[in-house]
Amino acid sequence: MNIAYSTELICFLILSSVIISGSLAVVLLENIVYSAFLLGGVFMAVAGLYLLLNASFVAAAQILVYVGAVNVLILFAIMLVNKKEKLKPIEGLKTRRLISGGICGGLLILLLRVSISTKWNLPGPPSIGEEATERIGEHLFTDYLLPFELASILLLMAMIGAIVLARRDIQIASNAGNEFNNEKPLIDKKIPLLSENSLK
């Protein structure tokens, strides 16, 4: 056992224990802010695993997308609301927890069985290290072009949808006119998301 191998093993053990305990804490903690911060920690530990597998580009992309964008947005949403209220006790919480715990345990056993019974092709293909960036680019623009474009269209649709949802109040204000001049709050009215004026 040389120095490189033992370092790798220690890193792997630390990272995987961080991932497992962190993700359990994300699910089980009562405080939603802690869960969100721990989620960021879990994402970073996953990036560490990618680094260990010699995939530095994927690791950096993982940090940029998941930690820098997704997790920050989650935290943003939580903190903008920042309400400290006690949730109503839900009926039959214990049976619900038992059922969901049972389902999760079953899934875990199933996955464990699959990972043990599969004959893994060991050792895997040699890592390409620094060339990975170019190879990923080549694949994205040749044989994975269609999935790549579909994913970007999906993201575009989500973005447009978010804008339409967020801009609803402005549209009400602009074409409110006389018909909405009564005392009822505007939210109670049934208003199409895309009003006819906005389509012109």
Partner: protein, 372 residues
Amino acid sequence: MNSGIDLEMSFTQGIQNLGFSPEVAHLLWIPLPMLLVLVSAVIGVLVTVWLERKISAAAQQRIGPEYAGALGILQPMADGLKLLVKEDIIPARADSVLFTVGPILVLVPVILSWLIVPFGQNLLISNVGIGIFLWIALSSIQPIGLLMSGYSSNNKYSLLGGLRAAAQSISYEIPLALAVLAIVMMSNSLSTVDIVEQQNSAGFLSWNIWRQPVGFIIFWICALAECERLPFDLPEAEEELVAGYQTEYAGMKFALFYLAGYINLVLSALLVSVLYLGGWGFPISIDWFSSLIGISIDNPLIQITAASLGIVMTVLKAYLLVFLAILLRWTTPRVRIDQLLDLGWKFLLPISLVNLLVTASLKLAFPMTFGG
């Protein structure tokens, strides 16, 4: 292409000659450049703090610090010492764990980013292939630390400051990344060493600033916004938010924020000089100069002179930019938060997209000058 001076090779070989295995020699080598860079980052901050005090004094027709050492050069040390011995206060209703982790999460990514700053062909900690992308990824961790400290202080000014800081840094990260992408496209590599080398064929005429003037301005504006410097220091706008997310912090935890801010400023200036101003390159090509005085480029004297000139050049260019940033801070008014976000999303983002497209088409049309 010569390889220049390789300190690592000579160090590990020296250790191996003393009778150690190559692995032990490598292990002994690893902490050395890290320590060196850490020390130089901290010294860079001390110099910047002194410059900030002196230049702001000059801008306001004061004298500035003058009793601590000659011309007050020991003043930043005195500041640091004061912060070190101050009482470390955690507010009673604050969340003590998050309150402590927040400043650390702000500082660590900034220091890690020094991994990729080259001071010479082999004078950097690690020439990782993803180079500049690593910096972009690491700098996206910072908003989490800011949100964390803003939330845990249990103070509405802190929370608002943290939210503003996060909003600002995510909106300015996108034009920043697009500006970097245009450079990467021209040099066909993410590695900072390759980016500098590609600029140093003909002295200062081949610097990227001539081929990417718009990108340079976008990058500089976004870097100032990422460092939260005036005119973009909204997260800590004194008149509105006391001190933003730093309001409840004292002692060494406050010093961590302070340190992170200044290290980030020096780092951004260094990266501007690497990406746009030819990094360690001398304004006149060294090859041309050595052929002029008739000495071979492989001459050890020329090699050592070139290496030390490289370090001086990188630091000089970076500190010229730091000077510019300090001058901007003390002469410009602060923008409003809506103006800031408008500038980021409605002006810089479209401009940087157009810049990227123009760069791509120029690269196709003139592959010789735009790196085909």
